[in-house]
């Protein structure tokens, strides 16, 4: 058990470190002159050489790469990712400022996506007619196929410009959260629904369901009492993918709805080549991903007695 724990934690830490190193190579080593990245592409040729040298010294670009790497890594370990080139503020507070807004959006969208996914899976399992089932099962694939920016624009067009139910832009109050929430929930719900439809179908054919049929349970009773409880668990295994979808979706959702947040900040940072801010964001996202996978790895055995037994005998390590 302890070995399992150490292994999982070690892997999570490795992912975060490697994300840091990868972004360091991409952003600080690969560009021929990283100083170029620090200036607006349109103005880079107008910058006098003295200023360039000063900036290079300020960021430590004049020192050997390996020293730069170790310094940056050392600072990053204490939570210091340098200062944003655009605003001059430290990276971590800049991210923390906009984080709550994105967390709110992502948490709400995730909750809504789970509801949509469970409704689709329940509808597909309880549908008796083949064509209804086929139609419901086609929904998740449709949900991931419609580009987020298109569904966002459609929502804006219908619900804010035509019907005037919700404000079109900004992030004031709960009403402005509704449209971005739905927009983000649609693509996130797709993969979860696909997984649930499959695991509901598997569970529905399993032995304990046959037993319940034999005992005279109704179709609805079986779905709610037996299948629902057992089939929900596998959804946890794609928590990491869901997290990635939420991040990627929030970049576009926040852009379409002009909302403040990590996604929009990342986009702005990339547009202005704000290298320290980009690196900070990527490492933060990778850390979030690693943490979520770690939590899933650790609590999954607690939730699934079969896995717990396997772990106790040391087979799953």
């Amino acid at each position: 058990m302890l070995r399992y724990l150490a292994l999982k934690i070690g892997r999570a830490l490795f992912v975060v470190w490697a994300a840091f190193s990868l972004t360091f190579v991409l952003l600080f080593v690969l560009p021929a002159d990283p100083v170029d990245l620090l200036f607006d592409p349109a103005e880079v040729n107008a910058v006098p050489p003295e200023v360039r040298e000063q900036v290079a010294a300020g960021y430590g670009f004049d020192r050997p790469v390996i020293l730069q790497y170790l310094t940056r890594l050392g600072h990053a370990l204490t939570g210091d990712f340098g200062t944003s080139v655009q605003s001059g503020r430290p990276v971590v507070p800049t991210i923390l400022d906009v984080l709550p807004s994105t967390l709110l959006l992502a948490a709400g969208a995730l909750a809504l996506a789970l509801v949509i996914a469970f409704v689709i899976a329940l509808a597909a399992t309880s549908a008796r007619r083949a064509w209804v089932r086929d139609l419901v099962e086609a929904l998740p694939s449709g949900a991931v196929s419609v580009p987020v920016f298109l569904s966002g624009i459609l929502m804006l067009q219908i619900f804010s410009f035509r019907l005037g139910w919700f404000p079109a832009f900004g992030d004031r109050g709960a009403r402005s959260l509704v449209l971005p929430l739905i927009t983000l929930a649609i693509p996130v719900s797709g993969p979860i629904a696909q997984l649930l439809v499959r695991s509901f179908a598997t569970e529905f054919r399993s032995g304990y369901v046959t037993t319940s049929w034999a005992k005279g349970a109704t179709r609805g009773g079986i779905i709610v009492r037996d299948v629902f409880r057992n089939a929900g668990l596998p959804a946890l295994t794609i928590a990491g993918i869901t997290f990635g979808n939420l991040i990627a979706g929030s970049v576009i959702t926040e852009t379409v709805f002009a909302r403040q947040g990590v996604g929009r900040m990342t986009q702005a940072a990339i547009n202005t080549l704000d290298v320290p801010l980009v690196q900070g964001t990527v490492v933060l996202v990778a850390a979030g991903f690693a943490l979520i996978n770690l939590i899933v790895d650790l609590i999954y055995p607690l939730l699934d007695p079969r896995l717990r037994a396997a772990l106790a005998t040391g087979r799953a390590a």
Binding site: G142, V146, P147, F149, G244, N293
Partner: protein, 291 residues
Amino acid sequence: MTVELDALAAGRRAGFARPIAGRLGELTRQPILVASWLVVLVVIGWAVAPGLFTSYGPYAGDASASFLPPSAEHWFGTDRLGRDLFARSVYGAQTTLTATLLAVLIAFGVGTLVGLIAGFAGGIVDTAVMRVIDVFLAIPSLLLAMVVVSVLGYSTQNIALAVGISSIASFARVMRAQVLAVVTQDYVKAAYGLGVGRLGVMLRHVVPNSLSSVIALAALEIGTAVLAVASLGFLGYGAPPPQPEWGLLVAEGRDYVAVHPWASILPGAALAVVVIATHRISTSYRKDHRR
């Protein structure tokens, strides 16, 4: 895995034995699949010979025809400069589809090779490669693609490269799992027993038998890659504005969505239809294999 591969082989044999007429008859019972193939073929036509599908040029503007609503003459309406949006969508197919194809080829080629090496070499090589793959999987592919594009510079080719690089990991993982399953098969052991070298076994037995799942993933990945390319185009990392590109078309129309909704919704809807069609085709492909 064994069962799946056997079933696959059986399915193929039965497929060849069935007369062509029967297969066509089966197709008519799946109208959505037929429609999906039609959509994909038409869009490939757009990309190959855009001139056949529209008489307007993608850059030819008419200032007096600014923001015309969709009509028989302008199917998707016109944009601010009076350019025909249908023509721009048709010509944009070339930009977007070329980038998509390039991205999938990069991801497929590199991912398959990496997965093959990891699965076949095993041991420390496998562990090292898989940990690197973990890192790539930990960064959402859109974010990774954005970072790569920012380093390479904005252009459609770089978008393709970025999207390709960001999907290498998933290909490598699937290929490795397949290779690991195939390596333990009896026919591989038999080949070793007959004195075939490691390279010979790998090329003649492991690669052909591992590829089917990866090809199925590639089919699925085409839809995802179209979306990724268009999303990056929408965010403004792709071709510079006068050039037609699907994501960019939506972004250009977005500023006028309150007054002239068709300008961004129709090109976007065309994009969505294409992605749905490729998804439908790739799922039918997977189902055929399962049978």
